[in-house]
Assembly symmetry: C2
Homo-oligomer: 415 residues x 2
């Protein structure tokens, strides 16, 4: 048995204890984690400083370095988010439906934890704690496999959290960190059948695609976002310009940012006149099809075929004219990633048809795609945004980290 | 593009039409399918007779031959089941939850079809129609890949159903049959990413395991059933004997049949005295651990290690003594397949703990495992019994063939 298989086996064993732990026990552990992370933040900051130093020496670029770096303020935010998760309602044990069958069997469907959730993520030490807190609250053991750049920070956080678990009477193994951050362990984790109930990759598109392709354990794909804004012939063009500006520029690095605008050809010129000055504020690069290029001239560059499927995560926008809403819908269903899609229109029927026909986790009328988020949707917190249709779709809160179990109360019934 | 990729692309295109079809249109198509299968049963029976003849010539064993064979009575049953599916409530379009957020966005979660469901199954021609009807009612396009032994029957059924779809105004491509039944197409179907939203293997354990291991498209594992009955120290032993007899012998070939009995050591002798005469009616072979063998003597044979994980689907039963309920639970969680598990006990706390601690799709107190079934659970019909925790667990009815989509109504909101 390899080290990771042993870790998987221990996680599975811990999951049987955690799955039957009550809300009070889980909340006590979350409180212990929050206060320990606060009190022992010195250890965590020291470890993080070593990670940051090593990353600088290795030439990490500054945006990544910023994500890696912890500060007392950031730790306070992380601690606060653990307490927010503690305050959320416990989804476990809820009975979705229950009925007495004609033969007298009482059959109920009860929410239960998924079991063991493995998470592969990159160099963001806050994910370690966020993911652990959400898994714990929903009764799931987590196996965390972060990037090598954050390993010292992650070891410190995991050790603090494990101590807190033990002090509050739950097995330390409810939170499990993969110590070896080589490619091999990521690969092994994808094939830890029997121990890992669900694997959630959090990171760039290439990580997610590799995991979805390679894994033999069940996977939830999250956060691939090629999102569109479609400006209809009957759009309020000022509203459309504001929505596009927000969807593209308010935070271009996130998955719910827009990457492509589709514009009804009859309003293209008028719309672009309003939108471009807003996009100019961030010098957004416009990559255009032939017909929009003809309007924008020197302000834009021609798009290549790959631009229609690109997730830029940057101040770049693909621009394309369409002849009607139907063409826009078809283009979105072909080139979107099923994340978030928006139409701007005043026409009721065009809006309703867009909502029905677009195949995505979140479909908007007259609003920015940037709202696709667990907090904004009222879920309280999220572990990611699912772009697949199985199990969960859209922002995944605590409920999405559960499964169900039929419990049947009999009096000797046979069939 | 291969033939199967083209078929996948066509299925995806048809799914955009079917996903927005209303209940009336889907019901009309189901009625057309039911009456066409009835009226054109001659074609179907002729094709099936050729399959049966070829299978006989190839030396197929009689139980399999029986499953392959269609008769007018069986067709009447299949037609009737299509009409039953038609009569079920349509799960699509239901809004699970809807709320107005503080910023005025109205956010609803709407039930939508999964999209394209591929089903790999063996030589049972009824599955072709059952699966097609459930997929159609739930707005999903199906790609059916049956076994080569039933290909003539399946071609006839698919042609009749496709004609009925067209006559009722839905695309014929809503039901799609893989014509080539070689191993290659099964393998290609497992990797039809982008076209297949979910793949459901229906058949033996080796098919299911292969698909789960190999597929890159999302899979739902169904029907692996190593089910246990645990006879507690405080069981009503007569009830326990009846339950075990039913769970093992009422239909040993199905996945909810029991394969192993765990008996509290203090009641083992008394229980076996009651149970063995019942099991004798079907000459059930008993494969025992050392301590139960000591009780049963010449009536039993020693179990080997592999017996504790065996799905016999036959009149064979593994027998093992345990020292308490805790050991039974731990054994079940190690050796079960997460399908159906039952405890027989009069003790309230032992019962409640078993319900909580056993990790399976259906957990019973004082009832036979044989009840795990869509019809028995009140779902109306089922496409299989999921033994995984993601997406669906237990009998999968129409609701389990859906996904969701967030629809958001805005008035220009930006973030």
């Amino acid at each position: 048995m390899t080290a990771l298989q042993q870790q998987g086996q221990a996680a599975k064993a811990a999951s049987y204890t955690l799955s039957t732990a009550g809300t009070a026990a889980k909340n006590a552990a979350l409180e212990a984690i929050a206060s320990s992370l606060d009190q022992r933040q010195g250890e965590w900051l020291t470890a993080n400083a070593e990670d940051v130093e090593a990353a600088k020496a290795a030439g990490m670029r500054s945006a990544m370095l910023d994500r890696l770096t912890l500060t007392p303020e950031r730790i306070a935010g992380i601690v606060d988010s653990v307490r927010q998760v503690k305050a959320l309602p416990d989804p476990i044990g809820k009975i979705d439906k229950m009925e007495t069958r004609p033969n007298g069997l009482i059959i109920g469907r009860r929410r239960v934890p998924l079991g063991v959730i493995a998470i592969i993520f990159e160099a963001r030490p806050n994910v370690t704690v966020d993911a652990a807190a959400l898994c714990l609250k929903s009764g799931n053991v987590c196996i965390l496999r972060g990037g090598k750049e954050a390993i010292r920070s992650n070891r410190a956080a995991a050790a603090i959290m494990q101590d807190a678990l033990e002090a509050s009477g739950l097995p330390a193994g409810c939170i499990s960190l993969v110590q070896d951050t080589s490619r091999d362990t990521a690969n092994e984790l994808m094939h830890l059948d029997g121990y890992v109930d669900v694997l959630i990759p959090r990171g760039g598109a290439s990580l997610i695609r590799t995991v979805a392709k390679e894994a033999s354990v069940p996977v939830i794909r999250t956060g691939e976002g090629v999102c569109h804004v479609y400006v209809d012939e009957e759009a309020d063009l000022d509203m459309a310009a504001e929505i596009l500006f927000n969807a593209k520029c308010s935070r271009p690095s996130v998955c719910n940012a827009a990457e492509c605008v589709l514009i009804h050809e009859r309003v293209a010129e008028a719309f672009l006149k309003k939108a471009v000055p807003l996009l100019d504020r961030h010098q957004v690069e416009l990559r255009c099809d032939a017909s929009s290029l003809a309007i924008l001239g020197g302000r834009a560059v021609p798009a290549s075929e790959s631009d229609w499927d690109a997730e830029y995560d940057d101040y770049i926008l693909a621009v394309r004219l369409v002849k009607d809403a139907k063409e826009a819908i078809s283009f979105i269903n072909t080139h979107g990633t099923g994340h978030s899609e928006s139409i701007v229109t005043k026409n009721y029927f065009t809006a309703m048809n867009f909502l029905s026909a677009v195949d995505a986790a979140a479909v908007y009328v007259n609003a920015s795609t940037r709202f696709t988020d667990g907090g904004e949707f009222g879920l309280g917190a999220e572990i990611g945004i699912s772009t697949q249709k199985m199990h969960a779709r859209g922002p995944m809160g605590l409920e999405e980290l559960t499964s169900c179990k039929y419990v049947i109360y009999g009096e000797g019934q046979v069939r």
